[in-house]
């Protein structure tokens, strides 16, 4: 090698500049053509709504180009999902036996993994980085706070943002907000035809009635061998009446002097019809919506747990992009969590509405939910399913909601969903 380096003759030649200019010209031409095509498809349609074409049919899913600094612009041009899948495949390659321990120790040193709390002391057992990344911990390594009224941390990580939600907007960073509808989906929880946990794109958009989501008069339930006291789970204030296709009768709305009872009814009806489906609606105990964002660094334990005892009623899978969710990008890319692929778990707890949203990233695009074996994230099948859902909506002439929804109503008929205990492992993030 030394001789080759010393004796090889190095000959410098100028890069063919014309070739470079030609390539840039062709690329620019392609961009202009594409932009013009896009402009033509949108021109001359004043009636066009978000994602709806001239015939009133929703358009196909299109990749959203976010605004932001040049780093974000460059990132938006990359095939992030393909890179994420490639990264996942790469990390599933088996590491030679004798390189495993030094390799994992080096990884632990770089990313600050505490090897003392890993359940498997022999690191040879992990055949690749993917399995080490999805490691389990020793029993008792994460004791739960004894206070039953505590909302526990669902994962190891760093608190990025927390607070209350005002007017349906979540503050990502100072002055940058995104709407809760964009994060969770804007349609009321539906009752899909497939209720056995299978993903369905055929939204019925049925409004769920109060009796469908809870039966607080029941005293005890036994699900998966765990006893729950329903009043403890559900004693919180509940929405008054969720069977609300509450259209105001025109006579009440316009009557100059309605009776007091009618006026109260009209008030309630109006507030119900204008209230977003996730907003608090309790009169007895005033409630508010709170949010918390927890970022998991590469060296953290990547399984997530239930913060409280609650019942998951449905799951919405948004097959979005896979931008990095590092604190830097969270500061610079507005609405990051509404762009990325995520699984929205919706349900109820003691005090009302509860949702849990694992958001994927480029290096950890695969979200696993233990009680939902049908869920597939960051896969070509998912993308195809999302395209199929968009196509189905287009054929039906309905707007595409942007997510595939499944109901857990059949998991427990008594509870109307899948019950989770505080601290129970729910799933995790896997590499790629």
């Amino acid at each position: 090698l030394n001789a080759a380096l010393k004796n090889t003759k190095v000959k410098w030649e100028p890069i063919p500049i014309a070739l470079g200019i030609g390539f840039l010209g062709a690329f620019q031409f392609y961009r202009v053509q594409r932009r013009e095509k896009h402009t033509q498809s949108q021109a001359g349609s004043d009636t066009e709504d978000a994602g709806v074409d001239q015939q009133g049919r929703p358009q196909k899913r299109e990749r959203v180009r976010p605004s932001g600094p040049w780093t974000v612009q460059i990132m938006s041009t990359l095939p992030l999902k393909a890179m994420s899948r490639l990264w996942g495949r790469f990390n599933e390659l088996e590491i030679p036996y004798y390189l495993r321990v030094p390799g994992f120790k080096l990884y632990s040193f770089i990313f600050g993994v505490n090897l003392d709390e890993v359940s498997e002391p022999d690191l040879h057992v992990y055949p690749n980085l993917a399995s080490f990344f999805y490691r389990t911990l020793k029993p008792g390594a994460r004791p739960l706070d004894p206070n039953p009224n505590a909302v526990l941390s669902p994962a190891d990580g760093k608190v990025i943002q927390y607070g209350t939600i005002e007017h349906g907007e979540v503050e990502q960073v100072k002055g940058v907000t995104y709407s809760l509808d964009a994060l969770l989906g804007s349609i009321r929880p539906s009752k899909p035809a497939l209720t056995d946990g299978r993903e369905t794109s055929d939204h019925t958009h049925t409004k769920v009635g109060a009796e469908d989501v809870m039966r607080a008069d029941e005293e005890f339930a036994n699900v998966n061998g765990i006893s729950y006291t329903l009043p403890n789970l559900f004693s919180g204030p509940q929405p008054k009446d969720k069977n609300t296709p509450t259209e105001m009768p025109s006579d009440q709305a316009t009557s100059p002097q309605p009776s007091s009872e009618a006026a109260v009814r009209a008030d309630l009806a109006l507030s119900e019809s204008t209230r977003p489906w996730w907003a608090p609606a309790s009169a007895k105990t005033p409630t508010a919506l709170y949010y918390c964002v927890i970022y998991l660094a590469p060296g953290d334990y990547h399984r997530f747990h239930s913060p409280v005892s609650w019942v998951v009623e449905s799951r919405r899978h948004f097959a979005g992009e896979l931008y990095s969710v590092s604190p830097y990008l969270q500061r610079t890319l507005p609405g990051l969590f509404t762009l990325n692929e995520r699984v929205v778990l919706l349900g109820r707890w003691r005090w009302g509405f509860f949702s849990y949203i694992p958001v994927g990233a480029t290096n950890v695009g695969s979200i696993k939910v233990n009680f939902d074996r049908e869920l597939r994230t960051n896969s070509l099948t998912t993308d195809t399913a999302a395209d199929r859902a968009a196509e189905l909506a287009r054929q039906k002439g309905e707007p595409y909601s942007g997510f595939a929804e499944a109901s857990y109503a059949n998991a427990s008929r008594l509870l109307g969903g899948h019950a989770l205990q505080r601290g129970e492992e729910m799933g995790g993030f896997q590499l790629g």
Binding site: S153, V159, I160, P286
Partner: protein, 51 residues
Amino acid sequence: STIVLVFEAPKGVRPSLDEGFRGAPTERKGGFVWNVKNGQKVRVGEPLGWV
């Protein structure tokens, strides 16, 4: 990877002066109280807050 929690919890009630409350008029008692700060490291099972 990131986890976002969005949940409904009691807001707390504004105590009346009749009850002998001497705090600030905007202060609320009861309700959900955060136990974390921005940038704080947390681990599974630690309390984010209490009702």
